[in-house]
Amino acid sequence: MNFLLGITPSPVLSALLWIVLVVTALYFARPTVHQFILAAGEALHKMFRTGSLSVAHAERALAERNRQVLLAAGREAKERIVEREFDRINETVRKDLSSFSALHRSLSESINRIEKDHSQAVEVPPDPPGWVKAVSAVAELDSKDNRLGVGSVLADIHKSLIKAHKEAMAAYHEASGKRHALLRKMRPDWRQIQQTLGKVGKNVDSLLGRSVTIDRHMQEYEDIVKDEDRAVSILSSSSLVYFFVSALVMAVAIGGATINFSLIARPMAEMVGGTSLAGGFRTADIAALVIIMVEISMGLFLMESLRITRLFPVIGALPDKMRVRMIWITFTILFLLASVEAGLAFMREVLLQDELATSALLRGDIDIAANGEYMWITTAAQMGMGFILPFALTFVAIPLETFVHSLRTVVGLLAIGVLRSVSLLLRLLGKGFRNLGKLLTHIYDLPLFIPLWWAARDHNNENSDLTEARL
């Protein structure tokens, strides 16, 4: 510094001299430096822009792939739903139409019976009263022949008539009674016909309802096949919902597995030792974890064999006989493991009691050791949990399948978001460097304001001289 300020006797003069020299040098180097800064800014801008375009291209490719994955998954899901709906319709039709001939026969029989009864129940008109003719004949005879003793004849006729009337009335009552009985017999047939027709109507309504559902699903399926944006949007939002719901259920299942683990880890020490380590972990803990993992695996296979989930296509494609065998094998293993867990849970309680008794003995509290009147409740609860939890964990397969399927979409969406952000960032950086180049040229010019002003002034004077000369 002293050297710099010592080139003249006066430091101020030296400083001024240096300033003049530096400014002059900077002024003469100005066009080159400007060109360099702007070129560097432009090069960086192009580099980042190319990067941004590349990332944007990757994002578009990923979005397209994600879209295709989503559509394929949606198509598959819709196919499954429609297939299931058709299965149900098939089942309904098979069940109801197979009994349609019996139903028809039942209806025909009922109708025949009703017809027969109805024809028998037709009201027979009572015989016309014969005594009117007889009385008039007698009356005519009496008046024509002037015979005596007509009265007794009439009395006899009267008597006969009363008797005949009584008999006719009795016959009429009997016939009416029979008709009413026949009509009564018809009532259950009417009811049966009504019920049968009601059942048929219900089935037809159910079929109609299912056909409406199938129509709706088919419409959605068509949208998916046509690659429509609306279908993609619906599938995407559904996928996100499925992801979060399945993640929640999985978290609950993990909680269950943790409880299961704590139930069997302690008594496992009785089998494999309490202190031996494998890979830095207690062997008893590893054994308990293995049991739980085997249970979950068996549950997965069981669900696959039952065709509830479709994580392993190989199992789904097995022949039915083999599949049923697999169902029984996995269920048996699961049952045995659940029984083992129940036993271990019991052992856990026994060990706990033993430990408490020993601790009480070492503390000198003999009475506490004997206090276990209601312990059977916790023992039973633990055994129950040990037996039920493996079966409950079986159902993890369902949310797991949904989680795995929706995870593809969610990861794809996240990756798209990241790529989009990176692309935007690169574009901003590119623009920033270009503008930074311009800014740096202006900053470079700041200390050169005097020569620049001078040059501008000269330039203006030259321009005005030229203008005057032209005029």
């Binding site: 030792g273 202190t275 060990l351 033993d354 008794a357 020993t358 070492l362 000198g364």
Partner: protein
């Protein structure tokens, strides 16, 4: 591919390597000489507390300090606990019973050979190879050797924790406390010089830091 296989093999070997022992070995010397015999109930409390703190594969032995303590015959009870929790509980109960019998039947001895007992403890624990080795000395630390007994021997107490418990003051200590302090200092020097760690716990209500 070759290097990957090598790494995998290395990881496999590392996971299969014999683990370092993490168990504990405790040897307790119980002074039965003279009037200190009256303190034996407190020793029983400490033994029970120690039993409650020990776990599977740990080793515990209780030995009396009498005229000549460098002997296996002076070991009252000894146990290396099993790996299975149920067996450990049974062993602890059996140990407690043996100690109970000793406490009821222990006789007062004429001399006090603490150094011999310590030698026996070191030998016993070294033989068992526990991860942590602790010797508890339940005594007033006043050594009184019978004529002819030589105990001027160098120890190797590297890796040992020596804890003196219930170091009571003698009548002479009350007259001249320097005797008590000197006694403690001598033992501390002796232990630390041999590579061991020395601690004194006189408050038996605060046994939490014992093991």
């Amino acid at each position: 591919m070759k290097s990957l296989a090598l790494v995998l093999f290395g990881v496999l070997l590392a996971s299969c390597s014999p683990p370092q022992s993490t168990n504990t070995g405790v040897y307790m010397l119980v002074d039965t000489s003279g009037t200190y015999r009256d303190e034996i109930q407190k020793a029983q409390q400490i033994i029970r507390y120690t039993l409650s703190r020990l776990d599977a594969t740990d080793t515990f032995a209780v030995a009396r300090v009498d005229t000549g303590s460098f002997s296996e015959k002076d070991i009252v009870a000894k146990m290396t606990f099993d790996d299975r929790p149920s067996t450990v509980n049974r062993q602890k109960r059996l140990f407690a019973e043996q100690v109970e019998t000793f406490v009821n039947e222990a006789q007062s001895s004429a001399y006090t050979d603490i150094t011999g007992g310590l030698l026996q403890a070191v030998e016993y624990l070294n033989e068992k190879h526990p991860g942590e080795k602790t010797v508890l000395i339940f005594s007033d630390l006043k050594e009184d050797l019978q004529d002819g007994y030589i105990r001027d021997i160098d120890f190797d107490l590297d890796g040992f924790d020596i804890i003196a418990l219930n170091v009571t003051k003698l009548r002479s200590d009350n007259v001249d406390p320097r005797e008590y302090l000197t006694r403690l200092e001598q033992w501390q020097t002796k232990v630390e010089k041999s590579g061991g760690k020395w601690r004194v716990i006189n408050d038996l209500d605060g046994l939490e830091g014992l093991l």
